[in-house]
């Protein structure tokens, strides 16, 4: 069975993010593999361990995105493809077109991706690729079983669990809870540095000018408002309730 994982390098959201002139300042901020993609890589490696086959990880991004691919290789992926793009502004529509072109000529039984990237949070690229390839897809999965050609997935549907049956080939996107991504071993990290990595330019792929035209535009970036400090109400219970009601009516005007 052959697995393709679509993945992305994002900035580390645990670090302090600053915005200047409507753009995120990337200096001094670390880059990591999108955390949801870690679940996808882990699941692909587990499928390989169970069913055999090969795991190929693919990303569209700047040359530095190589390090996220190398992390996937250290986790157990076999091949990595870096579609280099530094200047072309791409959105989910155009990235899906590019990735589809890259996947189209490869053998795959299942395509896995993260349910969203923590930087843009669009959740679109995976389902768009499935549509382009005309294969079924299941998003935000928390469990996956493959038996022959049949696929059974559980998905997180706003807190409920949906159980979906389908067939290969299929595309799934991973939700937290699908698995516990492994930490790469130290020898694995060193070996991954030597594994071959295929570098492509967008021009190498079968995409049209039109495919690369973004359909959406980010007009602004801003940080969420700073959290106000909390307040601890004092006194007996009746006094606290009275004060809380007062705050809700008069200060926050929520009720």
């Amino acid at each position: 069975m052959n697995m393709v994982v679509i993945m992305k390098q994002t900035f580390d959201t645990e670090e302090k993010i600053t915005i200047e002139n409507g753009q995120i300042v990337k200096d001094n901020v670390g880059s990591i593999m999108n955390p949801y993609d870690e679940y996808a890589v882990e699941e692909a490696v587990k499928l390989k361990e169970e069913h055999g086959g090969e795991v190929t990880v693919i990303t569209v991004g700047p040359p530095e995105a190589e390090s996220a691919l190398r992390t996937a290789l250290a986790m157990g992926a076999d091949k990595a493809v870096l579609i280099e793009n530094e200047d072309q502004p791409l959105d989910e529509y155009s990235i899906a077109k590019v990735l589809t072109a890259a996947i189209n000529n490869r053998e795959y039984d299942i395509i896995l991706g993260g349910n969203m990237s923590v930087d843009n949070g669009a959740s679109q690229v995976g389902p768009r690729i499935a549509e382009e390839l005309e294969i079924p897809h299941v998003a935000t999965i928390t469990k996956l079983e493959i038996d022959g050609e049949s696929v059974k997935a559980e998905r997180d549907a706003e807190g409920d669990v949906e159980i979906i049956e389908s067939t290969l080939p299929i595309l799934v996107t991973a939700q937290q809870g699908l698995n516990e991504p492994r930490y790469p071993s130290l020898p694995g990290i060193m070996k991954a540095k030597k594994k071959s990595l295929e570098r492509l330019a967008i021009e190498d792929l079968n995409v049209t000018e039109d495919d690369l035209q973004s359909k959406s535009k980010a007009v602004d970036h801003y940080l969420p408002p700073a959290k106000a400090t909390g307040r601890i109400l004092e006194g007996g219970l009746p006094a606290q309730v009275e004060e809380l009601v007062h705050i809700l009516h008069e200060e926050t005007k929520i009720v």
């Binding site: 302090k16 670390g30 790469p184 071993s185 130290l186 020898p187 990290i189 060193m190």
Partner: protein
């Protein structure tokens, strides 16, 4: 800042390990009206990033004495400070290459002379201490059973709590914008906080880590201190023996600190041959890399694999980058300045934790007595003017592996 006084007998800038221990020692000696101003939180600077390794091993006799004197506080912190500081006597193993065997012997003799419980250990003994360690590369080892590590943040908090109990005011999230001097610049008259509150005081102790550079520059004193990037990784060692010691690997210039609770290991670089500095202004503005580079991670992994080739299941858990408060010779400033009433207690260059208890006492001595009252510990090597006087502290038997003033 209504709850800040208008006047103080002493203002200490910075509530890291050094500011807190100095405040405590001064209060213990009956100094009243001590105010500590901290721009962030207690332990938020180098202290909060510290690995916390404890050892008596130095090639500098003076620093060994300071570490020996300090050990008692780590061992008996409950009695002395009133709370625990996470002291873990897992032992400290120190290994060198063949070229440095003689230096190690001489230094261990010096350390023993000064009261360190230490001694050379044979390769067979090392195999018992840490079976997975490949001793073949090494020339010789020393071992201190009472070394190990402590928790720098708990230590900082313990000093802060003990100081508060003696009446010291510690104000967090209250930075010092500037030190105020008399019109002719010759003496301290006060400090102004970032909220424009002025405290009049005849004495200021600058224990602001890297921040000391900027504060003193504004009053015309050059304190050569800057940030130096330190990159660290956390690993899970896989099948290693539990209960391993802290390990100074001076074959590869790397140190390892075990975490007793999880069995994880922290690997820190001790190679100062190619330092990456952070300008104090960038440090103050929080503009520096907080993550380890791939190159640094790779280097740390290679060194570890070299030492522990059998630990094939070791896993990389996390990595981060911090900043040492480094001086040109790696030796701190505990001294007065050309400005009357302005004192420095800063620049501990990545090895201040283990000597903290002694530093608090020395700084209190400096301010109250004008000289050290700690036996065998002279303050002269810590003076600001040592560079222009070309009179630097030198170890009798330095290790050749790197330009390494940490050891």
């Amino acid at each position: 800042m209504s709850n800040l006084p208008q006047t103080a007998d002493v203002v200490i800038i910075g509530a890291g390990l050094m500011g807190a221990s100095t405040a405590y020692e001064l209060a213990k000696r009956n100094v009243k009206n001590i105010v500590v101003l901290e721009k962030n939180a207690i332990g938020s600077g180098a202290t909060g990033q510290s690995s916390g390794v404890l050892r008596g091993h130095y090639s500098y006799e003076l620093l060994t004495r300071m570490a020996v004197q300090s050990l008692e506080t780590f061992q008996h912190s409950n009695e002395i400070l009133g709370s625990g500081v996470g002291y873990q006597p897992v032992g400290y193993l120190f290994g060198v290459d063949h070229v440095n065997i003689e230096n190690l012997k001489k230094n261990v003799e010096m350390q023993k002379r000064n009261g360190v419980n230490t001694g050379l250990v044979t390769m067979d003994e090392v195999k018992e201490i840490w079976p997975e360690l490949d001793t073949d590369h090494f020339g010789a080892f020393a071992f201190e059973p009472q070394g190990g590590y402590g928790d720098p943040v708990l230590t900082n908090q313990a000093y802060a709590d003990a100081a508060r109990a003696l009446g010291v005011i510690i104000k967090q999230h209250c930075g010092v914008k500037r030190i105020i001097t008399s019109e002719d610049g010759s003496a301290i008259v006060g400090v102004e906080t970032t909220n424009n509150h002025i405290i009049s005081t005849p004495r200021v102790i600058v224990a602001a880590g890297i921040g000391a550079h900027h504060l003193m520059k504004n009053v015309g004193v050059n304190v050569p201190i800057k940030g130096q990037r330190a990159q660290l990784i956390y690993i899970s060692p896989g099948g290693s023996k539990k209960n391993v010691p802290s390990f100074g690997d001076f074959m590869h210039d790397q140190y390892i600190k075990p975490e007793v609770s999880s069995g994880h290991l922290l690997l820190g670089n001790a190679d100062h041959a190619d330092p990456q500095y952070i300008d104090p202004a960038d440090y103050d503005a929080d503009k520096y890399l907080k993550h380890a580079t791939e190159k640094a991670i790779e280097k740390a992994i290679m060194k570890f694999i070299n030492c522990f080739p059998s630990l094939e299941n070791a896993k990389l858990l996390a990595s981060y980058s911090a900043a040492y408060e480094i001086t040109p010779d790696g030796i701190p400033f505990i001294c007065g300045t050309p400005i009357e009433g302005a004192y420095l207690c800063t620049g501990f260059s990545g090895h201040g934790f283990k000597i903290t208890p002694c530093v608090g006492k020395l700084t209190a001595d400096l301010i109250l007595e004008g000289e050290s009252k700690q036996e065998g510990i002279d303050l002269a090597p810590f003076r600001l003017t040592r560079f222009e006087e070309n009179d630097l502290l030198k170890p009798a038997h330095p290790y050749t592996t790197t330009v390494n003033s940490h050891v």
